[in-house]
Amino acid sequence: MWKPTLLLFLALAATAQQSPQALVQDAMNRQKAGDLEGAVKGYREFLKIDPKATPIRSNLGAALAGLGRFDEAIVEYKKVLRDAPSSTSTRLNLALAYYKMGRVADAATELSRVHREAPTNQQATLLLADCYLRMDQNKDVISILEPVEKTDPENLAVAYLLGTALIRDKQVEKGQVLVDRILRNGESAEAHLMLGTAKFGVADFAGARDEFAKAIALNPNLPEVHMLYAQTLSVTGSPEESMKEFKAELAVDPYNFQSNLQIGAMLRKDQNYGEAKKYLERALQTRPGDLGVRYQVAAIEISEGKFDQARAHLESIVKESPEFTEAHVSLSIAYFRLKRPEDGKREREIVEKLTAEAQAKQPGVKSQ
């Protein structure tokens, strides 16, 4: 998917060993030949001479991304965009780097801008739809893909993404039309994944599990298929198999958020705190600041007796999300263990208040 912007560039400066032109040409040749480390070295040498050469910096970003060094690539892409904010190709590459890191929200931000500036760019549109799907923003997927589907009804990628979003949005009949379209083209992993998603949505977990298993058999590299299969295995009572499938998802996409979070949570329950933290940290890289992950980390800290660390994390969580009852429960425990009973009682009262509020909304209470 990488599309480095390979532009000819004539540098003005020169070095003792090699002219700037030769340096750039050599780096580009190395990049084309797959010697990405060599290309990175060449581009960096050149950029020392001319730090403002944005096309070369963009090439450097592409080479770094090709090496999986996404953090560094993002730094370079951002520098390019500071000088050339309208560079759609660089923004697309930046979005791809975020996407590859699992930073789906950041990728979506960049892609929505590309989509606005270049609405006919199908790659950006499909990637944006995929990001929205991963963020459970199903209505956004539908909004950007319905027009595309009307003009290009045979595009199976569009049918897949749109159909999945429709099913998740409880528009099952409309989604089923797209599933049928995919099925007409023969049995496919995508169709089974969509069917599985539909069944999962109506709590037919065993049915969903079987569909995801078929999808994996047809295409084990389909994004998120192992993660979804793992989720169904978890609720149908096969924790070991579930763990195996979450790990299989991570073999395909090491930054898959749900897989890292779920493995972390499962390992925490097994009291394997060291391993759990590794996965949760990866999940946090994907979604920095995610409250659910931060809560898991804090819960581990309580189990490990690191009450003051847990307290600090939980205080920040409840500040951001004052109605996060579970976090108040854990914060109360942390305070009590830190011999701060008054703070513990205060948090416990918040738990009681939130619980009472939730109870008051129950239908059986109102009817009496």
Binding site: D204, F205, A299, F336, Q359, G364, S367
Partner: protein, 569 residues
């Protein structure tokens, strides 16, 4: 017919096909007697069947019973059986007679129904039973909880009982579930704690509409208002006074289903652990006399770590128990929850906090898809360490119609504690009864045949009870003890038994209650393994005397009656 893996293994073993599947199955079924054997009504004489009052409207009380008890109501040294039934209520008028049952033990493995003579038929929609000698006369009395009104039956010493509810002041209206007799103030008389479930008092019983099958279903208790439980102080004159007002017990609004009375901090005062459905569990720690002549209870469920799951969420607690599971000298706790919540094994950290170690004990894995009610920590094979028995069943009779994994009727589970000090699920190897499914609710343990091996009685919703004879303890030695308090409460609830064999010391606390809606054999059976005697046995009687009776070189395999201050009599 779909066969579960366990069922398949059992059938295969029974037909000799499963050679090599496991150690037990490598032999023929005849050569390996089941650990527990179902004694059918045709053999036991227990023909009573629970009427759950099932209706298409699905009123929630229909699915919660029944409780059951082992008790020796006639003091002949043999455990009798009491079974609780439903009855008339504001949503159900029975069209045929519905009654509780008292079965007298004939001492030959059979029982005789003596309910009518005893006067225990009941008039309420019964739920659970708590047996205790509240008047210290040496004869067990019976307290029956209900949807409607509780009933206290005083034992007349002649095979009959008298309903003394109103005079005693323990009528307790509403919806009560488990109850426990406990001498919380150590005055030598048993007091009474009664769990209250939800407020189900609406004139028109609330229905949760139709489920995915288009039918009315049993509401999840989350939708109903919580209520406070009750603590009755025994006045010593046959009457009781409700004393929870102003304490944490009255403030704690719960949906209580299970309670166990134990001492979680070894301070000599009995605490109360209450399992609640869909709201946090309560741990009421007994702090002794409070201001203005009252009593001080601290509810520490949250901070102790037993109130919520480790993810900070309330679960659907039903059955509970307490025991020194890991031999630390401190009481560990247990809570059974509904499917996908997993059950909790709470290890005592010795500082009024607990850690859930269910995952490390195979309990989490085995209970992931089950809903648990009656249960008991006990040494079923008398090898000297505590094991665990669980009775399960989903409350929703239609769950199988829309869940591919969870079923209404569920298997029993048996866990054995290994030399690694962990509970291991041995249900597969425990006998055919563990390969059947039941709508199990209450569970009581008791040695009805006096062979030193604790048998199990299980109340089944809408069906006959299960009487399971224990064959697992054969080959191991034991000592049975009936404690009789003189200054302390007659049942000696709160007594501690210490014993040693070849220098190895052990200890057990006589807690009370636990399980769900049920009451156990009051005797204590100590598993001795291959030891033929106990070198030293100490009974630490609870306050007010706190005296210690010591015995040495106590021979195994018999029941002893030990009286406070007198020793063996």
């Amino acid at each position: 017919m779909n066969l579960t893996r366990r069922r398949w293994l059992w059938l295969a073993a029974a037909s000799g096909l499963a050679a090599g599947t496991s150690h037990l199955w490598s032999q023929s079924a005849d050569a390996v007697p089941p650990l527990f054997v179902d004694i059918p009504p045709s053999k036991s004489g227990i023909s009573w069947v629970h009427d759950n009052a099932f209706s298409q409207d699905h009123y929630l009380p229909e699915t919660l019973g029944p409780g059951c008890a082992f008790l020796d109501f006639d003091n002949d040294g043999w455990m009798d059986i009491f079974l609780v039934n439903s009855g008339p209520s504001d949503f159900w008028k029975p069209t045929k007679p519905v009654r509780n049952a008292l079965y007298k033990n004939n001492r030959d493995g059979t029982f005789t129904d003596v309910t009518e003579k005893a006067g225990l038929s009941g008039t309420q929609f019964g739920m659970g039973v708590a047996v205790g000698d509240y008047d210290n006369d040496g004869w067990p009395d019976i307290f029956v909880t209900a949807y409607g009104k509780c009933t206290l039956y005083k034992n007349n010493h002649n095979g009959t009982f008298t309903d003394v509810t109103e005079n005693a002041g323990v009528a307790t209206l509403g919806w009560t579930t488990s109850a426990v007799w406990v001498d919380y103030d150590n005055d030598g008389r048993l007091d009474l704690f009664v769990c209250s479930f939800v407020d189900y008092s609406g004139e028109h019983k609330f229905g949760c509409g139709d489920n995915k099958l288009g039918k009315r279903y049993y509401c999840i208790p989350r939708v109903f208002k919580p209520t406070a439980s009750f603590l009755y102080h025994n006045n010593g004159d046959g009457t009781f006074t409700e004393v929870s007002t102003g304490t944490d017990i009255a403030k704690a609004m719960g949906k209580g289903l299970g309670v166990v009375a134990t001492d979680i901090n070894n301070d000599g005062r009995t605490d109360l652990f209450v399992a609640n459905d869909t709201v946090q569990n309560f741990l009421f720690v007994n702090r002794g006399p409070g201001p203005n002549g009252g009593w001080k209870w601290d509810e520490i469920g949250l901070q102790s770590g037993v109130g919520f799951s480790e993810s900070g969420q309330p679960r659907s607690g039903m059955g509970v128990d307490a025991s020194d599971l890991f031999g630390s000298g401190w009481q560990d706790l247990f809570v059974a929850n509904v499917d996908h919540e997993m059950f909790s094994v709470y290890q005592n950290n010795k500082d009024e906090t607990f850690q859930d170690v269910a995952s490390a004990n195979e309990v989490a894995r085995s209970t992931r898809l089950l809903s648990g009610w009656g249960l008991k920590y006990f040494d079923y094979d008398n090898d000297g360490v505590i094991d665990l028995f669980l009775a399960n069943g989903h409350p929703d009779d239609m769950i199988g119609g829309y869940s591919m994994q969870v079923t209404y009727k569920e298997p029993l589970l048996l866990f054995h504690q290994g030399s690694d000090h962990k509970l291991h699920d041995v249900s597969d190897k425990a006998g055919p009864i563990f390969h059947q499914d039941f709508a199990a609710r209450g569970l009581a343990v008791g040695d009805y045949d006096n062979d030193g091996a604790m048998d199990v009685l299980i109340g089944i919703n809408g069906d006959r009870p299960l009487l399971l004879q224990n064959n697992a303890a054969k080959g191991n030695n034991w000592l049975g003890i009936k404690l009789e308090g003189v200054q302390c409460n007659r049942d000696a609830v709160g007594a501690r038994i210490d014993w040693s064999i070849l220098g190895k010391k052990k200890s057990c606390l006589k807690s009370n209650g636990g399980s769900y809606l049920s009451s156990h054999d009051p005797r204590v059976v100590l598993g001795l393994g291959d030891a033929t005697k106990i070198d030293q046995l100490e009974i630490h009687w609870p306050a007010p005397s706190k005296q210690v009776d010591k015995l040495t070189n106590v021979a195994a395999n018999r029941y002893l009656r030990i009286v406070e201050g007198k020793g063996v009599v």
